[in-house]
């Protein structure tokens, strides 16, 4: 008789390390929904790697049983990209906050995106620096009072959705931590997507962000209309820019298929007639005088 292992449930993915987030943090909801999505996809814990940077949400990998890397501030994406290039068969998921991704790490996003690196990037966007106790973040709205902007934020915020769309992301979605089913649905689709997939999850910080509160989002969250053509970049950008009207659209904005970095690297190796047993003498002999 075959003894089949029971399928993993969301809680089976939890490690022994308890989350360190404040009570009421949106990230709890994200963690639970993401693990449900892992269970739904039956991800093998040893074939999955979570890579994060620095910040409250970047503690995520410790709370999960899979392989993981907790890297330096802003560097999660290029580390994850290196891991994926080395081990394309692994499911590589990069997670972090808005400051990690779009401020200190902002320079990397464009390049990991435009290469269509086949990793999933989940941002928990709370529009504030939580770990350092309440400084302005790249997604904080203009005028917001934070510990480093007592007279109000002077800058325009980054629009993460428009940012990755214009660099050619092939999967772009936004969710809200208080809509766990939507988070699960979009993260599942993102992991299934071949190519770079981006899910920006609005995840309020009740401790330090007194502007982007749960009440604020009750008013401003709007579901993307059902008839939206997810293959149309212009309509996706139009939705992304709804933030200018103070709206927070949630749902799938954009998804297309395009060759991935893994595939392009494989093409290069094919052109080079790659072999694991390549005779290095052939390379060396080219340097005979």
């Amino acid at each position: 008789m075959d003894i089949k292992e029971a399928p993993m449930k969301a809680k089976d993915y939890k490690s022994v390390v308890p989350p360190t987030w404040c009570p009421g943090c949106g990230d709890y909801g994200v963690l639970n929904a993401v693990l449900k999505s892992f269970a739904e996809l039956e991800l093998d814990i040893f074939e999955t790697a979570l890579v994060s940077g620095i910040g409250c949400s970047s503690r995520f990998p410790y709370f999960v049983k899979t392989y993981g890397m907790h890297t330096a501030h802003g560097r999660a994406l290029p580390v994850a990209a290196g891991l994926k290039m080395a081990r394309p068969e692994l499911e590589v998921i990069c997670l972090g906050g808005d400051g990690d991704g779009f401020s200190i790490g902002g320079g990397h996003v464009a390049h990991v995106v435009r290469k269509n690196t086949d990793i999933t990037y989940v941002i928990m966007d709370n529009a504030i620096y939580g770990l350092t106790k309440g400084q302005v973040s790249p997604t904080s709205v203009q005028g917001m009072v934070t510990t480093t902007t007592p007279y109000g934020v002077p800058d325009n915020p980054v629009n993460p959705l428009a940012f990755v769309l214009t660099y050619g992301a092939t999967f772009v979605a936004q969710a809200y931590s208080s809509k766990p089913k939507l988070v699960q649905e979009l993260v599942t689709k993102a992991i299934q997507h071949k190519g770079f997939s981006f899910v920006n999850i609005i995840s309020p910080c009740p401790t330090f962000n007194k502007f982007n509160t749960f009440d604020y989002y009750k008013e401003n969250i709007e579901e993307i209309p059902e008839g939206h053509n997810t293959k149309d970049l212009n309509s996706a950008l139009e939705i992304a820019l709804r933030s200018k009207q103070g709206k927070t659209p949630v749902g799938l904005l954009y998804q297309i298929q395009s060759p991935t970095l893994t595939e392009r690297l494989a093409d290069i190796r094919e052109k080079a007639e790659a072999s694991d047993n390549y005779d290095l003498n052939k390379i060396i002999d080219a340097y005979k005088p």
Partner: protein
């Protein structure tokens, strides 16, 4: 006429005039004819224009440095003559573009054999191809100093064959025109005739940067990520062609931070991984070098040093990143720094760098430099089957009983077995946070102390593991000289010169420079009353480290003009210090 055992030809002209390619060809041809060859180039940081110089040293026996000065100077234009006129010595030969070039009058320098060759004019009017000026010059040089014309022609075919017979013919004609001009118009007065070599089949001629790439392949490197920077870019150029052949991947990252981030990710994934950069890039990498120390992820970083700080002298030679390499990181970070001496070291010490990184799970920095990176030299062909490679200690779940995997387990050696993602029961978080044995964050005083000790103490036996530090002892010597990196080759020749003059002097050549091989250095210090350190940087960086880490209190001989030492400079200093 006596045959020369050792000949140095310097070619100077404007960047873009074919100085570099003609230098490369004459070096190739000489190596093909069985001579040992070592080249030295300096060129401006501009794309075109500015003074460029290519120097080739030929010998029947092993060459260890650029040499002292030159025997033959070959000037493509007035500027190169102006720059080099003061270095001309009695007995030297000078070939210069006259008449027809920008040198306006015939040159007469007492004691120097001056040969005017109208290379521009021959190329323009006789051949109708101005670009062939460098080949006219090569033909003249080959004929004057007995460099094999046959080898030169073979090199032309190899280089231009793909472009068609027409291109080959133009170059042949130019070579012959130069040769004919000499035979019909010049009376040779100098004594430089290169003694022919014996062609060997087991020789290659390769640049320092390519040699590092080759070393990476031999070590089993499968992943490389870098950002273009002079003078390190050719390491990437070599591997971009060759790494995919062995089923490896290379990417050009968006910056040096991303390069090292890529490399750390790939190494965590189980692949031997490397990046290459120069000083400014190494500065950007410092934070992630600290992270790889903390994570205990093996990485290899080649730093081809250039003049600094800032953009500094991007195409010039300096050994000024030693402090940055050894001490550049934040916090207490263990790392290993190696300094290759020459082309062979670029190959084999890159293998060592991987072996050390893998064995000790540390970042290893290989400090090459501008003159070594750009230098081409002949060397014995490496035999891939003879290369010893070391792989990281991988986690074996069956050896662990019922215990769960402890990535940072405290072992006697300080080295903890590493699992590879995909491996069942091996999951852990590779982390930059201080952590306990399991990899979970842990900030207790005891834990930080124990873990820091682990990360340093694991390197305790490195001095014994690595190739012994070479010494060249004269038992009667009171003076011992130290050099690192490419200055080692120069010191070897300086030592020979000094001893020819009857001086009693010893030398030590540390190639593992950090952590310092204290046993060998202190042993050397104990045998000598005076220690002299020769290096190319303003702060006398090696001397400072020796003072803090060993019993030495050295005298420094440091220069910092963007050029390497000559053996004669060091030999003179030895005389002075004694």
């Amino acid at each position: 006429m006596a045959l020369a055992k050792d000949l140095i030809i310097r070619i100077g002209g404007e960047g873009g005039e074919g100085i570099i390619s003609s230098g490369d060809m004459i070096a190739q041809a000489a190596a093909r004819s069985g001579l040992e060859v070592l080249t030295f180039k300096t060129f401006p940081a501009e794309i075109r224009g500015g003074y460029a110089m290519y120097q080739i040293r030929f010998s029947k026996s092993r060459i260890l440095s650029e040499g002292s000065g030159f025997n033959v100077l070959c000037c493509f234009n007035k500027e190169s003559l102006d720059v080099n006129r003061k270095y001309l010595q009695e007995g030297n030969a000078l070939i210069y573009d006259y008449p027809g070039g920008d040198i306006e009058e015939e040159v007469n320098i007492p004691g120097v054999h001056c040969y005017p060759v109208p290379m521009s004019k021959i190329a323009k009017t006789e051949l109708g191809v101005y670009r062939s000026k460098n080949m006219v010059c090569l033909g003249a040089v080959a004929d004057l100093f007995s460099i094999s014309m046959e080898s030169l022609k073979e090199t032309v075919v190899e280089k231009f064959g793909k472009k068609g017979q027409e291109v080959v013919d133009v170059n042949f004609k130019a070579l012959e025109a130069g040769q004919t001009y000499i035979r019909e118009n010049i009376k040779k007065e100098d004594s430089f005739n290169m003694e022919p070599g014996t062609p060997k089949d087991d020789v290659i001629i390769i640049s320092g940067n390519y040699a590092v790439g080759l070393g990476a392949l031999l070590a089993g490197c499968k992943y490389f990520s870098a950002y273009p920077i002079t003078p390190a870019t050719e390491v990437a150029n070599f591997l971009s062609i060759n790494l995919p052949k062995v089923n490896g991947n290379l990417v050009q990252a968006e910056d040096e931070i991303a390069s090292l981030a890529n490399v750390i990710g790939a190494s965590y994934g189980g692949l031997k991984s490397m990046t290459a950069t120069s000083g400014p890039g190494l500065s950007l990498m410092q934070e992630l070098i600290g992270m790889s120390t903390m994570m205990e992820v093996p990485v290899v970083i080649c730093d081809v040093q250039r003049g600094g700080p800032s953009t500094g002298l991007p195409t010039k030679h300096e050994q000024s990143d030693l402090f940055l390499a050894a001490h550049g990181g934040h916090g207490d970070g263990s790392r290993v720094v190696l300094s290759p001496e020459g082309i062979e070291d670029c190959v084999y010490m890159t293998v060592d760098a991987f072996n050390i990184a893998e064995k000790y799970q540390v970042p290893v920095l290989l400090l090459s430099d501008g003159s070594l990176g750009f230098r081409t030299a002949s060397m014995k062909k490496p035999d891939p089957s003879k290369i010893k490679t070391i792989n990281r200690d991988t986690y074996d779940p069956s050896s662990n009983g019922s215990e769960s995997f402890m990535r940072y387990k405290l072992t006697k050696s300080g080295i903890s077995p590493m699992s590879t993602p995909g491996q069942p029961d091996g999951a852990y978080i590779s982390t930059g946070l201080e952590h306990g044995e399991s990899s979970a964050p842990r900030y207790t005083p005891d834990n930080h102390t124990v873990m820091l000790d682990k990360r340093f103490n694991k390197l305790d036996d490195l001095e014994d593991f690595f190739t012994p530090t070479e010494v060249d002892i004269d038992e009667d010597a009171e003076l011992g000289v130290v050099a690192w990196g490419s200055t080692i080759g120069t010191l070897r020749e300086a030592l020979a010169l000094a001893r020819e003059d009857g001086l009693k002097v010893s030398a030590i050549y540390p190639k593992l420079v950090w952590p310092m091989p204290k046993k060998a250095l202190n042993d050397f210090a104990a045998k000598h009353k005076k220690i002299l350190v020769t290096e190319i940087n303003k702060q006398a960086q090696l001397a400072a480290l020796l003072r803090s880490e060993t019993d030495m209190d050295p005298i420094s001989y440091n220069i910092y003009g963007g050029l390497p030492f000559t053996p004669k400079m060091i030999a003179d200093k030895i005389m002075e210090v004694l």
